[in-house]
């Protein structure tokens, strides 16, 4: 028997395979395909204090080995989530992690407070890849000062494990991770999507109604693995790695680079059973390699270069 259990700060996971926010709905959409009890954790679609309409369509366009999405953070809001979605999720023996965001620090704080009070939310994941209404729409997660403020403010109002989900659209992700750590994060998620654009050359317009969208899928995996490694060298708190994980092989790459857990996103669309397939594959790999505890794999990368 191999041990697959990992700890994300105070949060114990039976295995390291979680779902990536926004790619697994509120869990129920996948219940017919995946035994939700078998997941390390379920991270739900990003929530805001009040419901959001999101962007006009088209919201999705495929790119080489990837896709852009500009959903625009459509969601039913924290309260409807707690009332309508959480009871279903409480049935399962799998921690629910609430991903959330706001336009202002206040919105973050209020959303965090309400989610922390809800029965069945086991951790919070802050999406800071969204613009700050009160600071010229600068993205929270690309400016160290704003990031420090918003993470600190949320830290003050929640006792739940707090995961900060980093934006890759920065010069130095290790530095941003350090800011998150210093501001009180229990863990970081690396990474959110990278901003991209596809143009309809006949119409001379972006294909997405929102012009730009977030790039996800295998195309970005080498970038995400590198960022996990950089963050691993910069902070002590656990890392949840994600970005283009399609197979167990890919998940293992992230763990070797330093991720304590991994999140599967776009792969769910391509294969609804991706999460549990990946979990099985990781276990098989550990057996083949005679590794009895997955924790021995984490950060096991050796390089000739510092």
């Amino acid at each position: 028997m191999v041990n697959l259990a990992v700890e994300i700060g105070p949060l114990k996971l039976k295995n390291p395979v979680m779902t990536a926010s926004g790619t697994f709905g509120y869990g129920e959409e996948y219940a017919e395909f995946v035994d939700l009890n078998r997941l390390g954790a379920i991270v739900v679609k990003g929530l805001s204090l009040t419901p959001r309409e999101g962007n006009p369509t088209p919201r999705i366009v495929e790119t080489p080995a990837g896709m852009l999405n500009a959903i625009g953070l459509q969601n039913i809001g924290v309260r409807a989530f707690i009332k309508e979605k959480l009871p279903f999720l409480r049935q399962f023996d799998t921690p629910v992690i609430a991903n959330f965001f706001g336009d202002t620090i206040d919105e973050y704080v209020q959303a965090a407070e309400e989610l922390s009070a809800a029965d069945g939310v086991r951790a919070l994941e802050m999406n800071i890849s969204c613009p700050n209404k009160q600071a010229g729409w600068i993205v929270f997660g690309t400016d160290p000062k704003t990031m420090d403020q918003v993470v600190g403010a949320v830290r003050n109002v929640t006792k739940l494990p707090l995961i900060v989900k980093l934006s890759p659209n920065v010069t130095d992700i290790g530095c941003m991770a350090k800011v998150a750590e210093d501001s009180g994060a229990d863990a970081v998620s690396v990474m959110n999507t990278i901003t991209g654009m596809v143009i309809d050359i006949r119409r001379r317009k972006p294909v997405l109604a929102n012009a730009t969208g977030g790039l996800s899928g295998p195309a970005i995996r080498p970038i995400a693995v590198r960022m996990v490694w950089e963050v691993y060298k910069a902070v002590k708190i656990p890392i949840i790695g994600m970005g283009g994980i399609m197979t167990a092989h890919d998940a293992i790459e992230f763990m070797i680079a330093g991720a304590r857990a991994v999140a599967v996103g776009t792969a769910n669309f391509i294969m609804p059973t991706a999460t549990t397939d990946i979990c099985d594959g990781i276990e098989a790999f550990l057996k083949e390699e005679r590794i009895s505890d997955i924790n021995d794999l984490i950060g096991s990368l050796t390089t000739s270069k510092k």
Binding site: G22, F24, T57, I60, Q74, G217, P218, F269
Partner: protein, 250 residues
């Protein structure tokens, strides 16, 4: 009977230079589809194309599912190259379906929209007044089969290369006048559906449109495919693809 299953390609043959018909045999027992439902199909063996693509069920027989598709971009090109004997992954049947018509009905198909309406024509054989339009003759497919399944068939092409010249919606008016009360079922490009909706609107008869949107998951999880309705945003893949026309905010 999982809706996520693999199937073996039995046929993948050209109907014309633009259209192919794909016949697959699921490797396990599957849920039977209803007219108007669709499947997400794997189109290749690599990450490029990456996403599955949505295709309406065209017809189904014991243990085989048939799809009719137009070769368009990367995904359909890739699909068109798959050979007999290849296994592909499918998810489906997905979405809702066309409500059953009580008597005769009017069907309006634009281009490949015929694929979605076809099982309806077949299930309610010889009851459809079918208006079938396309840009030109080459964009029409399965005309003989449609003629056989429908009660009557009106063809229109933008350039007059087959049937009447002009928009297929011109025939719709004639049908609406000739068969008052007959419900309308339409599938095709959004602008066409919008015209259909407008023409039917004030007549107080049911009008169902099957919408298309870019899809990533097909199962309601990604929120990529929403459409604005009078009852808020709905997902084309989950609450649709078939909507009452008056519900849509065009």
């Amino acid at each position: 009977m999982s809706r996520s299953f693999s199937a073996t390609i039995l046929h993948n043959d050209y109907q014309s230079s633009l259209f192919k018909r794909l016949v697959v045999k699921p490797s396990s027992t599957v849920i039977l589809p209803k007219p108007g439902q669709f499947y997400m199909l794997q189109t290749g063996d690599s990450f490029d194309p990456l996403l599955k693509r949505p295709f309406s069920i065209f017809s189904y027989e014991e243990n085989t599912l048939h799809f009719l598709y137009r070769i368009r971009g990367k995904g359909t090109h890739s699909l068109s190259k798959l050979k007999e004997g290849t296994d592909i992954q499918l998810i489906g049947p997905l979405g809702n379906s066309y409500p059953a018509p009580e008597g005769d009905f009017i069907a309006v198909a634009g281009g490949i929209g015929i694929a979605s309406l076809f099982p309806l024509l077949q299930k309610f054989e010889k009851r459809a007044h079918l208006c079938y339009g396309a840009r030109n003759k080459a964009e029409l497919v399965m005309v003989d089969e449609a003629r056989k399944a429908a009660k009557e068939l009106f063809i229109a092409t933008d350039d007059g290369s087959a049937g009447g010249k002009g928009f297929v919606t011109e025939y719709l008016k004639h049908c609406l006048d000739s068969f008052p009360g007959a419900p309308v079922y339409a599938c095709g490009p959004t602008p066409m559906l919008h015209i259909v909706a407008k023409k039917v609107r004030d007549r107080g008869i049911p009008c169902y449109v099957s919408l298309e949107e870019h899809m990533a998951c097909g199962i309601g999880a990604c929120l990529g495919c929403v459409v604005k309705t009078t009852a808020g945003q709905k997902r084309v893949c989950k609450e649709g693809p078939v909507f009452a026309a008056e519900e849509i905010i065009w």
